[in-house]
Symmetry: C2
Subunit: 209 residues, 2 copies
Amino acid sequence: MTAHSSGPQPRPSGGGDKRERILDAAERVFAEHGFYNAKVSEIARHARVADGTIYLYFKSKDDLLISLFESRMERVCADLEAAVSAVSGAQAKLQAFVRCYLEMVHRNPKVAEVLTIELRQSSKFMKEYSNPRFADLLKIVAQVVADGQKCGELVDGIPAPVAARMVFGLLDELALAWLLGRGEKFDIVRAADWVGALILRGLERRSVP
Amino acid sequence: MTAHSSGPQPRPSGGGDKRERILDAAERVFAEHGFYNAKVSEIARHARVADGTIYLYFKSKDDLLISLFESRMERVCADLEAAVSAVSGAQAKLQAFVRCYLEMVHRNPKVAEVLTIELRQSSKFMKEYSNPRFADLLKIVAQVVADGQKCGELVDGIPAPVAARMVFGLLDELALAWLLGRGEKFDIVRAADWVGALILRGLERRSVP
């Protein structure tokens, strides 16, 4: 995710509430119908604004999706940051990150569905958007891993940014499996222990080889 | 991925070559333009068939994508199965799986791009298709983990199907990062060692606690 974002649309003044209403409506409509089938007119109806009003705030449906992503990811990163800061030690911080992430998926499946499934349906998002918020999320994990490696709590053979990618991939796939797997539902909050077991054991430095 | 596939289209007799040509062309066109922007007429042109011929073999563009996925995943699973069978012991098998998977991504970035990025742009694929091939891939890993747990080589706290999901998620995210990350390219084949380090250490049973 390397190219440049086209930048935010200038916002009409005093329209904070309306913008939020449109984002909330988009979240519901994207989760219900999917990004490609979602109609801007239905989003407008849910937000109680005229169709044209949406284009005062967002250039296109892709831009609306990206703005929704940025708004939700800001909260997600703040929550993850808080969870990680509340404990000390790299292993405790990693476990806190994992638990916080999976609890958010469990608590807000509609948001998780947009972040995990609908976003990937936008070619623009996948291939053109630079995605600073996702970089922020990865940085939280990479920093914990780098600090843990530095102080000798974690093994240092795996580059911290790659370890962060792996941790995210693992959480993202479990979230996806849980969100889609209507038949074979497992307990996503309980899964935090399994993820924790795998990555903490995988990354901890051991005195006995 | 739980709902039913709509089933394969009956194939015109003697058209095996033509069908393969269409799949090869679709692979190129999807990877180049993305699933949503890909035009069936361009796929037809690359395959050297009339536009209408494509609909003798595939019901829709979604069906073409799903058939392409099934065809490529059949090969992918066969290669992974062979890599895993060639060695003994759960840890060696897991390492062989990881290496084989990442080498395939490196060797066939166009196929990997369709499997990792374009597929997810089809709502039909994500939400309606039962995806037996992907289940096959997960089963290869789950079986290795279950066998390793049974014989005491691997720790048994993590359910084997969940461990398989985690291993896949980790590989899929690294593949995605590598395919999209034109700026920050890392060595995807070298990454097999890092993935191996994380999951083997994470899953192995230790005599010393």
